[in-house]
């Protein structure tokens, strides 16, 4: 029998400054032509496992290692990174950090150049890879000008150039719209069919299943919780921890009726069990003047127009999600409304008043803007300083700071963290930093929140918990969110604005917007299993339910008939 591409035996690894091992007692083999899906919540050891396979551990990350990792039959400890690079291709999670070439060709050539490959051979491979990865149209372009999806494909192209036996891909779907994700998975599937081994780390399991993995490794707290077939995994996986296809969730609810009673209070406020607060009884009142009104809005970056005449009204008491492909203008819409980008045409009104009458700071009192990455804003020595920064800028009475800080922490459940006020913000976990970013926005006491990619960088469980907490914040009137996460948008929003190439192509309740499948797909969006399930069981007049709520209703026979 041929030697597996990867053979891991009894692997335990502890980082030099850590007190506990990041992974323990891992045994694993990956055969040629096999696709292994590695899943698990944040911090479960996925990244460490990847580093152990590709040789960064121990070559670049010193620590305590026991057990062995063999690639092509040879111990990684005995191979140089140069040798490993010719066998294993790794695509990191954030392509913006992985891409080192200033142009597409330079990026593709980088690996072969490092291995001393002949120039003619590099040219030949660039041509092949451009075709194979579907990036021929990108040749000649500067990498800084590429979209997130294009960068991800280029990052994969850079690895294809080395023609490795094994591809290790770390959360490739995190920054991609569904259509770009499907394209990437197609490339990986083809590689597997050609006999290459693929290790893909992804917590968006439903989408990763399109890759038709042969086996799943599920990690929890650094240990193997499950290693086996996909069907076996779907039977044991926790739907709260990883995003599963709806049929798998339903099967779990049918086989275990006790799960019905474990559904969280309100993953979506439509679900009928919403928390108390203004958001608990939302819905746009047509007679009420909108909070935010766009009339023929045009805006962009320099000479490049991104928004081509947007008309939209966002209500004072509603949750609106903006969906669309990468680069379609979703974030630009709200940045323009906050006067962070220049309006080049049309008008934007806030509570009936043109935004030009207000400064960015004044707009921040109406809209709490939560950026995608909390690290973009955290700078202070303590959480207390961080939370008083905004009110101080707006000239609020320092005597009220104590109350503002307490209120913001309570509304985001950060008050339960020990010594939170004196903690340096950057020592908090990523999830806590996300909540701190939310608290910072709330410290300006805005009635409306704008969330830019609220689920980015979080696993399924923490993203859901974050959204639950946001929906439960008392005193909020409205939430506007921009996201790639289709199901998150559909289950939380009253209304969907569907964007494509800087224009609104649909505007309506979730079930109505997803009804036109052709339009949905044309916007690079994925018809998820949850969409199909909602269409089947809820009917068009119903609300769009999250997987657990709908599964519970179907399992108990309370869902609308198909």
């Amino acid at each position: 029998m041929a030697e597996p591409v990867v053979r891991i035996e009894g692997l335990t690894y502890r980082y030099r400054r850590a007190s506990e091992p990041a992974i323990r007692d891992i045994d694993l083999t990956v055969e040629a032509g096999e696709v292994l899906l590695v899943a698990g919540p944040s911090g479960c050891g996925k990244s460490t496992l990847i580093r152990a396979i590709n040789g960064l551990i121990p070559h670049a990350y010193p620590g305590e290692l026991s057990g062995s990792v063999r690639v092509n039959g040879r111990l990684t400890t005995e191979l140089r990174l140069r040798d490993l690079a010719a066998i294993i291709g790794t695509v990191l999670q954030d392509p913006a950090k992985q891409i080192v070439g200033a142009t597409v060709e330079a990026e593709l050539a980088f690996g072969p150049e490092n291995l001393g490959m002949d120039r003619t051979e590099i040219r030949r491979r660039i041509s092949d890879v451009a075709e194979r990865a579907g990036i021929r149209n990108l040749l000649g372009r500067e990498t800084a000008a590429l979209s997130g999806g294009e960068r991800q494909l280029l990052a994969v192209g850079g690895i294809l150039m080395l023609e490795p036996r094994l591809y290790v891909v770390d959360e490739p779907l995190a920054n991609l719209d569904p259509a770009s994700a499907a394209r990437l998975l197609g490339i990986l599937r083809t590689l597997a069919d050609e006999g290459h081994a693929i290790v893909i780390v992804e917590h968006r399991v439903e989408e990763a299943l399109d890759l038709r993995p042969d086996r799943v490794l599920y990690l929890e707290e650094g240990r193997t919780r499950y290693l086996g077939s996909v069907s076996g995994f779907l039977e044991i996986a926790d739907p709260d921890a990883v995003k599963l296809p709806f049929d798998a969730v339903l099967a779990r609810f049918r086989s275990d009726p006790s799960l019905v009673g474990t559904i969280p209070a309100a993953p979506g406020h439509h679900a009928g069990a919403a928390p108390p607060g203004t958001l608990a009884a939302p819905g746009a009142d047509p007679a009420e003047s909108p909070r935010l009104e766009f009339s023929g809005v045009r805006a962009g970056f320099g000479d490049r127009e991104v928004l081509h005449g947007i008309d939209a009204r966002l209500g004072r008491r509603e949750i609106v999600a903006v969906l669309g492909p990468n680069g379609s203008g979703k974030t630009t819409l709200f940045r323009t409304a906050m006067r962070l980008l220049k309006l080049t045409g049309g008008e934007i009104r806030v509570d009936g008043e043109p935004i030009t009458n207000r400064t960015v700071a004044q707009l921040a009192s109406t809209f709490g803007y939560v950026f995608q990455s909390p690290s973009q804003m955290l700078f202070a020595r303590t959480v207390r300083e961080e939370l008083t920064f905004g009110p101080r800028n707006l000239g609020r009475d320092p005597g009220t700071f104590g109350a503002i800080v307490t209120d913001a922490l309570e509304r985001t459940s950060l008050d339960v963290v020990e010594d939170i006020l004196d903690r340096p913000p950057l020592t908090l976990s990523f999830g806590q930093q996300k909540r701190l970013a939310l608290a910072i926005a709330l410290s300006l006491e805005p009635p409306t929140l704008i969330l830019d990619e609220p689920s980015a960088g979080q696993d399924h469980r923490t993203a859901r918990r974050f959204m639950r907490e946001v929906m439960a914040i008392p005193g909020l009137e409205s939430i506007y969110l921009v996201t790639h996460d289709v199901d998150l948008a559909l289950t939380h929003a009253d209304r969907i604005l569907l964007f494509r190439e800087g224009r609104v192509v649909a505007d309506g309740p979730p079930l109505e917007v997803v009804e036109d499948t052709d339009r949905w797909i044309a916007c690079n969006l994925r018809p998820t299993s949850l969409i199909r399930a909602n269409a089947r069981w809820s009917g068009l007049n119903g609300a769009f339910l999250d997987a657990e709520t709908l599964a519970a209703r179907v399992a108990t026979g309370t869902a609308a008939a198909p």
Partner: protein, 283 residues
């Protein structure tokens, strides 16, 4: 968002040259210019420098700010040099005494025909150096910086660091701009800056800290990505092929000749001595 390095001279005659020519031209020109103190010859060098600059076809409105900053910096430098030198003038012909117009109040620094000419030559020299140097930034394709310096004998790790700089300056600018936006929506006002430099730096902390922290955190991923593709582990090839064509060679001969002429001229003529126009001497 496009923050790509500005390859503004794309397609121009100079951008079509082997990029090594642009680097060597600057070296030759600098070595030639620093030997010249005759105002008339410096004017000729400026003409050459700006003629060369024009061949890069860099749209002025897109570099206006850089030119303004450069001219401001050079003016300050020349002025400060005049003050610090207290009116002492280098490269005066032997036996010539400065023709003093008067003295700067409080400082007492003499202002003479010679010191003004000296300052003017310095100013013109710096201007010519900027004109010859700008095309390196704006007329070399961003993906050939590394190979250019590597082919000029710079070790490839350093040469690639230049490539990386060009690659990550736009990303850093993007992060910087995002952080500014993130702080603006927290009510931070970037207008009405204090004149106190310390206060100005302190006010930038909310922007600088996140930008720097993110850059350091991101660098780890970049280093991993480079390691994983075998960077720095052995002999390296360069995909870009640089070949000097006939025109490149002629340009190099031209700048090389300029250096030779300036060097020989400095030895056998008065080109390295300050020349003061009669017209500005006090009667």
């Amino acid at each position: 968002m496009n923050f790509a390095p500005r390859y503004l001279g794309r397609g121009s005659w100079l951008a079509r040259r082997d990029p090594r020519v642009l680097v060597i031209a600057v070296v030759c020109f600098v070595l030639a210019a620093i030997q010249v103190w005759d105002l008339r010859i410096m004017l000729i060098l400026d003409l050459i420098a700006f003629a060369y600059y024009r061949t890069a076809r860099i749209p002025f409105r897109q570099v206006r700010r850089q030119w303004m900053l450069a001219i401001l910096f050079v003016s300050l430098l020349v002025f400060a040099n005049g003050i610090i030198a207290s009116g002492r003038i280098q490269r005066l012909p032997e036996g010539v005494e400065p023709h003093i117009y008067g003295y700067i109040p409080l400082l007492g620094t003499p202002v003479s025909a010679e010191s003004l000419t000296f300052a003017l030559v310095q100013f013109l020299r710096f201007l010519s150096l900027i004109a010859v140097g700008f095309p390196i930034a704006f007329a070399i394709a961003p993906d050939v910086f590394g190979v250019t310096f590597a082919r000029l004998g710079v070790p490839y790790r350093f040469a690639y660091a230049i490539d990386l700089t060009w690659r990550f300056i736009p990303s850093l600018a993007e992060d910087f701009r995002s952080t500014i936006d993130a702080q603006r929506v927290r009510g931070m006002d970037f207008t009405g800056q204090s004149r106190n430099p310390v206060a100005r730096v302190r006010r930038q902390i909310p922007v600088l800290v996140p930008t720097i922290v993110n850059a350091i955190a991101g660098a780890e991923d970049t280093i991993d990505a480079m390691d994983l593709r075998g960077f720095g582990t052995g002999e390296r090839t360069w995909f870009q092929d640089l070949v000097l064509d006939r025109t490149d060679k002629l340009v190099l001969i031209g700048f090389g000749s300029l250096l030779v002429v300036a060097t020989i001229g400095g030895l056998v003529t008065s080109s390295s001595v300050l020349w003061v126009p009669d017209a500005i001497l006090p009667r």
